[in-house]
């Protein structure tokens, strides 16, 4: 299946059951099912036969040396790779709540509302804190001021930023510290109530205090959201995640409970990587 071919499919139906009606879903049940996935950048294969089941409302860490495919797989989960010319899923499928996200009738824009993303470098819009949070909702056509105010407070509280910015909501988001900007981006992501939050090295540009705040936040957010985090910090993966997937050269080498990966990995390559012997 060639993802570039589906990028312009009209918005025909929601990607999957929205979160409100999925409240009864069993925590820890498979939310994302990746099956036999081969992914290419042009002629170069970046992911080989990935099979992975990601549970609901848990934190899953993707680890591995640079170029191992972990960020590529992360970006496959909300079809961010569609934005790069020549990329394609040539085999396999990714299903979220049993809906194939590369299916012909799935709208990538709708998908990205359900599967939000936080990047390595915080990227607030050059707008006020308030406008950063409400941007997604305004695009969706929400205009009610009371509703927008509620979402701003709820999202900023959810991102553990409310107390720090409540008195300057109309100042520029760019005036915040690096750690605050990253939490603002998380608040912006959760404002549209996604089911899944993808985090691509969210703390790599933060100092230890800001990192600790984001990690604390991840721990809180997993009660409501399914989180997938790409990290180069073994300690961060160990602290934050419930299960960990180790990738090497485009292949999934091992996937297990984080405790097992860091206490007794089955594969010698995993052991060598987590112990800092290669990578």
């Amino acid at each position: 299946m060639d993802s570039t071919a589906t990028a312009s499919v009209p918005r025909s139906r929601p990607l999957a059951t929205p979160p409100a009606s999925s409240a009864g879903a069993e925590r820890g049940a498979t939310l994302i099912d990746i099956k036999d996935l081969d992914f290419y950048y042009g002629a170069k294969q970046a992911l080989f036969d990935i099979n992975l089941q990601i549970p609901d409302k848990r934190v899953t860490a993707f680890i591995g040396p640079s170029g191992c495919g972990k960020s590529t797989l992360l970006r496959c989960l909300n079809r961010m790779n569609d934005l790069i010319d020549g990329t394609s899923v040539k085999r396999g499928a990714i299903k979220i709540r049993n809906v194939d996200i590369y299916g012909r009738d799935v709208d990538p824009i709708e998908l990205r509302k359900r599967v939000g993303m936080v990047f390595q470098k915080s990227n607030p819009f050059p707008k006020s804190i308030y406008e950063n949070i409400t941007y997604g909702l305004r695009i969706q056509g929400v205009k009610n001021k009371t509703r927008l105010d509620e979402v701003v407070e709820k999202s900023l509280r959810g991102a553990a930023l409310w107390d720090e910015v409540k008195d300057r909501l109309h100042e520029s988001g760019l005036g915040l510290s690096g750690g605050q900007q990253q939490r603002l981006c998380i608040a912006r992501t959760i404002a549209v109530e996604p089911e899944v939050i993808l985090m691509d090295e969210p703390c790599s540009a933060l100092d230890p205090i800001a990192t600790a705040k984001v990690e604390e936040l991840i721990h809180e957010l997993k009660k409501q959201f399914t989180i997938i985090i790409v990290t180069h910090s073994m300690q961060q993966a160990a602290r934050c995640s419930d299960q960990t997937a180790f990738f090497y050269m485009g292949k999934l080498i091992e996937f297990d409970a984080t405790h097992n990966i860091f206490m007794n990995p089955k594969n010698p390559q995993t052991e060598a990587y987590v112990s800092g012997r290669f990578g």
Binding site: M234, Q235, A238, F262, M263, N264, V274, S275, G276, R277
Partner: protein
């Protein structure tokens, strides 16, 4: 890929092996001193305990430093944890050997209560268990480690048998009470040495594959009662 701090783990490993070597020698020498009434050898055993105490402290310091600065993961983490626990067991083995040596000095001043048969037998079993457990540190071998755990029953059985026998001596001939009590305590020390060997064997299984086999009654019952 070799890391600049790999040498620290090598030192840690070799210190633990050195402790094992000294502890085994201490037990052997203590037994020899008892059986032959060699007071000089018994005094050497008592004096050598300081080396085990120092090694235990050094291993703890190295382990704490390594955990603090190197954030060990997986096998390395297990090695550091097991190293600390095993070194504690080996230090206690040294204490028991010292206790046997002190009693050997007191017993050497009196005629033997009975020929030394059971105590050498149980001590040699405990030494074999200790050596096997330490071998598992060098060459991970879970079967061998589990065999050590199972052998603990053999030593326990001899200890119980000696207890009964020595109790009879004390009842029948009150003049033997002092010597019989010394032998009872020696037998108890050997039984404890076997317990420490068992602990070390269990720790080696954890080191090898993170499996916790402590307090596995089925495993212990599977051992022969001698």
């Amino acid at each position: 890929m070799k890391r600049f701090f790999d040498a620290e783990l090598e030192t840690f490993r070799s210190d633990l092996l050195r402790m094992g070597e000294v502890a085994v020698r201490q037990v052997r020498d203590a037994l020899q001193a008892l059986v032959t009434g060699d007071i000089k050898l018994a005094e050497q055993v008592i004096a050598a305990d300081d080396e085990l105490d120092e090694l235990e402290k050094r291993i703890d310091t190295e382990a704490i430093r390594y955990m603090n600065l190197r954030s060990p993961i997986a096998t390395e983490l297990r090695l550091v944890i097991v190293g600390m626990k095993a070194s504690h067991d080996l230090e206690r083995v040294g204490d028991e050997a010292t206790s046997i040596a002190k009693r050997a000095i007191r017993l050497a001043a009196e005629p033997p209560l009975k020929p030394y048969v059971d105590i050498p037998r149980m001590t040699n079993t405990a030494i074999e268990m200790l050596c096997a457990a330490l071998d598992c540190f060098i060459h991970a071998d879970n079967e061998k480690a589990i065999a050590v755990v199972k052998r603990d029953k053999e030593v326990d059985a001899i200890n119980k048998q000696l207890y009964r026998e020595l109790s009879s001596y004390m009842v029948e001939q009150p003049g033997t009470i002092t010597r019989a009590l010394e032998l009872m305590f020696i037998s108890k020390s050997v039984e404890r040495i076997a317990d420490h060997a068992t602990n070390i064997a269990e720790e080696m299984v954890f080191l090898s594959d993170a499996q916790d086999i402590r307090h596995d009654e089925a495993l212990k019952k599977a051992g022969k009662a001698g």
